[in-house]
Amino acid sequence: MIGHLTRRIVGGAIVLLVLSALIYTLFYLAPSDPAILACGKGCTPERLADVRAAMGLADPVWTQYWHFLQGIFTGRDYSLGPTVRHCPAPCLGYSFETSQPVTTLLMDRLPVSFSLAFGAEILSLLLGIGAGLLSGTRRFRWFDRLVNGLVLAGYATPVFLVGLLLLLLFCVHLQWLPFPQYVPFTTDPLLWAQNLLLPWIALAVIQTAAYARLTRAGLQESLAEDHIRTARAYGIPERRILWRKALRGALLPLVTLTAVDLAGIITSAVLTETMFGLPGVGQLLVGAVNQIDLPVVVGVTLLTGLIMVLANTAADLLYAAVDPRVQLR
């Protein structure tokens, strides 16, 4: 268990290291120069050189990368001009564009992405498992078919398409819902939910179907297992068999999937956030890429990479927790 975690952590660290190095190299090779953007219109070459030096871009790329790594582990100092500001570890640097610490920017955006991901995940789990149970117990044939068809359609639907259609329907035609704008949960939970409802639905449409199918398949597989026959042979009531025995096996794959999907929503939220104009991590990234804001791009990449690594580890641990047969080594 400890060994497994150690390996996971080391492996995750390597992934993050490779990712950040990759981004640094790519941006170094890229033709764009963030100093030009900062310097603005009418920037002379002399001024540009000064600005570049002030932004720390005059150093060779490996020196920049080394400073970046140092910042993560020991923090770094930034010259503000007359004074020096210390950025404590883990310091991901400062945005070229807005001079804000990248960590602040990320912390600022995370609640939005998390709200989006968790809401959508919970919604799709509830609907998906519900539908899966209904169709898995084969009580309604037509429902079974419907779920089957929906999962195929869900797989074939890009989130931005669903998003557009939902906006068209609910915000423009029916005008039932406001055009989404992010309201922090702490400000007004009701408005928070109301505004996020459409993005949640857009994301859930796709996942609900997948979960329904998985639940249904898992349930059927689970009900066909030998130990269910044993339970029947020992007179355990069907209801109890379904809820206590079959469901657990059926939902097992969902446990790992949920963790990974959650990470997937956060990391691929770019599309949803762009679609609905939510100021999350994904939107931050798109803006940063356009502005060649390297520290922010690296920051977002590392954050999403970290979330993926954590989710995968969490999935492993969860799996081990719910399935006694699994031993983490």
């Binding site: 890229a30 033709p31 764009s32 120069d33 963030p34 100093a35 030009i36 953007l37 900062a38 310097c39 603005g40 219109k41 009418g42 920037c43 002379t44 070459p45 002399e46 001024r47 540009l48 000064d50 600005v51 030096a53 002030a54 930034y78 010259s79 503000l80 001009g81 007359p82 004074t83 500001r85 564009e97 807005t98 001079s99 804000q100 600022d108 406001p178 055009f179 704008q181 104009g277 100021p279 939107q283 803006g287 356009n290 502005q291 060649i292």
Partner: protein, 564 residues
């Protein structure tokens, strides 16, 4: 999605005003408005582009900007009047527009009495000087380049952090007097003095890059909270009063700015006007197709519109040092071939841009004179173009067109495709060359790397012909190392001499007439191919009063609106 110019405060974009060209209905609703009793309420500002830097050294705005001028008073500022009057500068911290001497090479200002920072400290000439010096620091990039160019001996100045001795060409003989020594005559200096770099900064409060977290206000409001590109909340500055500032009304008690919104969402919200949105205005979200459909139909929305014009031209730049654009016939032929309707549609339709046959946009203050030397009609004259090309012995012409790789600045793929198609009608094959937006100006601004044909925009930093024509046509402004705007690489001593002569004029009206004549003269040479000029249509909320298009930049003047 037209996110073009009016992103109020971003560093990359130029802002300037206009004569209020189309703004016929600007004053109609103001009959009952009384600036003495307008105070109260909270104004909501919904914007697309956020404020990236709230540091007066880094802001690139003219006329003091819209929101920044609520915090930063400058030596002069734009005259806050509807219509033509609004295109003139007016004294702000200074007692007058400045006294020129030495043939407009020296400008002297006196500060008015009673002016204070938000903490009650009196504002001195040294504070103004320090504010200007800060803008030279490479740690604080982004501001307009004119001061570095104009101030004598300031080109190599590295800012007060590295060179605390300061700039010698700015003198402060006493707390109330500040004198600028320029390297050449500049009659437009009162216009430049509206820039935020001319706002006072108390040296004791300067903490460099972090200063923007809470810049010390000299205006009617002070910062309550500020998040770059996201939000800005302003509350009253108790050390300001209408007694020391006649131009700003500062009606709302509180101003809440939200940025980073989609323009369609902003306009939708203003139209609906639910809750706080009834008190909403926008300074950068021009109306989209959906609202345009509702305008002019006699609906309630028609009363909630301001129309202005921003002096800006989108054009095709010919590199006359590169074949085949060194041949005037080619430039003429393309001028005949252009289909301006396609370009207008690509930029959002006739409500928000107009076709241009002149380089100067149609504003009186700039000295606009109508001309159309190569009439292409609404949709181009491909046959005429073919004929000109045939005369020059150039059929089957194949050229490359450089453009930005996104449409955010209005010189992206959409416009490029429209031009490609128009030239195709004239038998000219165009290959599109998309260049990353981040480096576009760098590549086009270096004669060594400048493509033969590129899309460009130019906006005036203040409503005068000088900043519009000088960087583009003054042969001495060709900067080979980079940052060049004279993309035609045109150098005619006669034109240069005329520019100098106009620059020395301190009467704006006289200067305007000569700028207009110069533009018409240059137009005959087809050095550039003008495409469109900006028009701005903004909506405002139900409760907003005294909303008129600011004559300098075509936007609502936030300094004078009321929500009471």
């Amino acid at each position: 999605m037209r996110r073009f110019v009016p992103i109020v405060l971003t560093a990359t974009v130029l802002l300037a005003g206009c004569q209020g060209g189309g703004g016929g209905d600007t004053t109609t609703s103001n009959a009952a408005f009384d600036p003495a009793t307008c105070q109260g309420g909270t104004l909501t500002v919904l914007n697309q582009g956020g404020i990236t830097h709230l540091d007066p050294a880094r802001l690139y705005t003219s006329g003091g900007g819209n929101l920044p001028s609520l915090l930063f008073r400058t030596l002069t500022t734009r005259n806050r009047q509807p219509g033509d009057a609004g295109t003139k500068p007016a004294p702000d911290l200074a007692t007058d527009l400045g006294t020129p001497s030495d043939g407009a090479k020296t400008w002297t200002y006196h500060l008015r009495d009673g002016i204070q920072f938000e903490d009650g400290t009196p504002i001195t000439a040294a504070d103004v000087k320090y504010g200007i010096e800060r803008s030279f620091a490479p740690e604080l990039p982004g501001g307009a380049p004119y001061l570095r160019d104009w101030l004598a001996g300031a080109a190599d100045y590295q800012g007060p952090y590295k060179q605390p001795d300061g700039i010698t060409s700015i003198e402060t003989p006493d707390d109330k007097t500040i004198v600028f020594k320029l390297s050449k005559p500049e009659g437009d200096f009162p216009f430049l003095a509206t820039a935020t770099q001319f706002a006072p900064v108390p040296k004791a409060k300067d903490n460099g890059v972090d200063y923007e977290k809470h810049p010390i206000s000299s205006g009617p409001y002070q910062v309550e909270s500020y998040e770059p590109k996201k939000s800005l909340v302003l509350v009253r500055n108790t050390h300001w009063s209408t007694k020391i500032d006649e131009l700003r009304y500062a009606c709302p008690d509180r101003i809440e700015v939200t940025s980073g919104l989609d323009s369609a969402v902003i306009n939708q919200r203003i139209v609906t006007g639910a809750g706080q949105d009834a008190n909403a205005v926008t300074t950068d979200a021009v109306v989209g197709p959906e609202q345009l459909a509702q305008l002019g139909t006699g609906s309630e929305l028609d009363k909630r519109v301001t129309r202005g014009e921003f002096p800006s031209t989108t054009y095709l730049a010919f590199n006359t040092k590169k074949a085949p654009f060194d041949n005037p016939k080619v430039r003429e032929a393309l001028s005949y071939a252009i289909n301006r309707t396609s370009v207008v549609n690509a930029l959002g339709g006739s409500a928000v841009v107009g076709p241009s046959t002149t380089f100067l946009p149609p504003q009186k203050a700039l000295g606009y004179q109508q001309y159309d030397w190569f009439p292409a009609g609404d949709t181009g004259a491909p046959d005429k173009a073919k004929q000109v090309l045939a005369e020059a012995g150039l059929s089957n012409l194949s050229i490359e067109l450089a453009h930005e790789n996104d449409d955010s600045e209005g010189i992206g793929p959409k416009v490029a495709s429209a031009i490609q198609e128009a030239f195709k009608q004239a038998g000219v094959t165009v290959k599109l060359n998309a260049i990353d937006t981040g480096t576009y100006r760098d590549i086009t601004g270096k004669p060594a790397t400048q493509p033969g044909l590129s899309l460009a925009t130019w906006g005036a930093d203040w409503p005068s012909g000088g900043p519009f024509l000088i960087p583009i046509f003054d042969g001495r402004q060709i900067i080979t190392a980079g940052g060049n705007f004279n993309l035609a690489q045109y150098n005619d001593p006669e034109v240069n001499a005329e520019i100098d002569a106009i620059n020395a004029l301190t009467d704006p009206a006289a200067a305007a007439a000569r700028w207009g004549a110069l533009d018409a003269k240059l137009g005959k040479l087809a050095l550039v191919l003008p495409l469109t000029h900006e028009k701005d249509v903004y909506l405002y909320g139900k409760n907003v009063k005294n909303a008129y298009a600011d004559g300098w930049r075509g936007q609502l003047d936030v300094g004078r609106v009321s929500v009471k």
